[in-house]
């Protein structure tokens, strides 16, 4: 049913107060990490294009060389470093969500501790993985 412009129904719709949304809340680490979990999930989604490319490139020398040229370039390094962090962060975030799914870890201190561990852990693991990776490549490049 369409309300006529200026009718009581239309005015009531226009003037109806809206319930408060995200912008009234002071940003907190838990809510920031909630959206970061989604963003990293979406990034990992598109990152699978790189995974499919790499797996298919490995079949031949020329294709593999093209992938290695990309992976060794500055932009490639930045994308792969971001992808590494995104995967690790999403994985640790997923473990955090599985803990929450079990009904545990919802206390004021526990939830803050969990998201802080998620963020610090993902950055630390990413840096360690890249140090190991660059050392592994050191022999040949």
């Amino acid at each position: 049913m369409m309300a006529e412009p200026g009718s009581l129904h239309a005015r009531a719709r226009a003037e109806r107060p809206l319930s408060p949304h995200l912008q009234i809340y002071r940003p907190m680490l838990t809510m920031m990490m909630s959206i970061v979990h989604r963003i990293t999930g979406a990034a990992n989604y598109f990152g699978t294009i790189l995974l499919a490319w790499w797996l298919n490139a490995a079949a031949g020398p020329s294709g593999y060389a093209r992938f290695q040229t990309f992976a060794g370039s500055w932009i490639g390094r930045i994308i792969l470093f971001g992808y590494t962090w995104s995967v690790i962060h999403h994985m640790l975030g997923g473990i955090r969500h599985l803990i929450w799914d079990s009904g545990r870890g919802f206390g004021p201190n526990e939830r803050e501790w969990l998201v802080a561990a998620n963020l610090i852990g993902s950055i630390a693991i990413t840096i360690v993985l890249w140090m190991v990776g660059l050392l592994a490549m050191g022999g040949s490049q």
């Binding site: 999930g41 699978t48 995974l51 298919n56």
Partner: protein, 130 residues
């Protein structure tokens, strides 16, 4: 006597008569695949680090070995299921224009299946040495 009006229990009715008839399937699959993703992702990262600094022939040989092939197939399968549900939830949460939502949901399924099958093809090709 308070004779029950229905033979079916309240739980059975809730389970069977929801508006969509189903509902928790995607929720459950998301969590099962999440649990599987953890060891499989760790294994895939270990495999990738093993390949660093090797030439294409050595990388192809390692990727084509039976254990690595099976791990990578499981990895690709699990993440494909997981990411399809995840992107579906994102689309359903943020896209409110119905025609666009339909296009994106179908596109999401297509993307997941294409990228998953392309990866599986790459893995099997190395494994069978085609």
């Amino acid at each position: 006597m308070n004779a029950p009006r229905h033979i079916r229990t309240p739980l059975a009715r809730v389970r069977g008569f929801g508006a969509a008839r189903t509902g928790t399937g995607a929720f459950w699959h998301q969590r099962v695949s999440a649990v599987a993703n953890v060891p499989l992702t760790i294994a895939a990262i270990v495999i990738m680090i093993m390949l660093l600094g090797r030439n294409q022939a050595a990388a192809a040989q390692i990727l084509g070995s039976p254990l690595v092939t099976i791990i990578m197939l499981l990895f690709v399968g699990s993440i494909t299921i997981h990411m399809r549900i995840g992107m579906q939830v994102i689309i359903e949460d943020y896209v409110h224009h119905d025609p666009l939502k339909l296009v994106l949901l179908v596109g999401n399924s297509f993307f997941a299946i294409i990228v998953g099958l392309a990866s599986v093809y790459g893995i099997l090709k190395l494994s069978f040495g085609l």
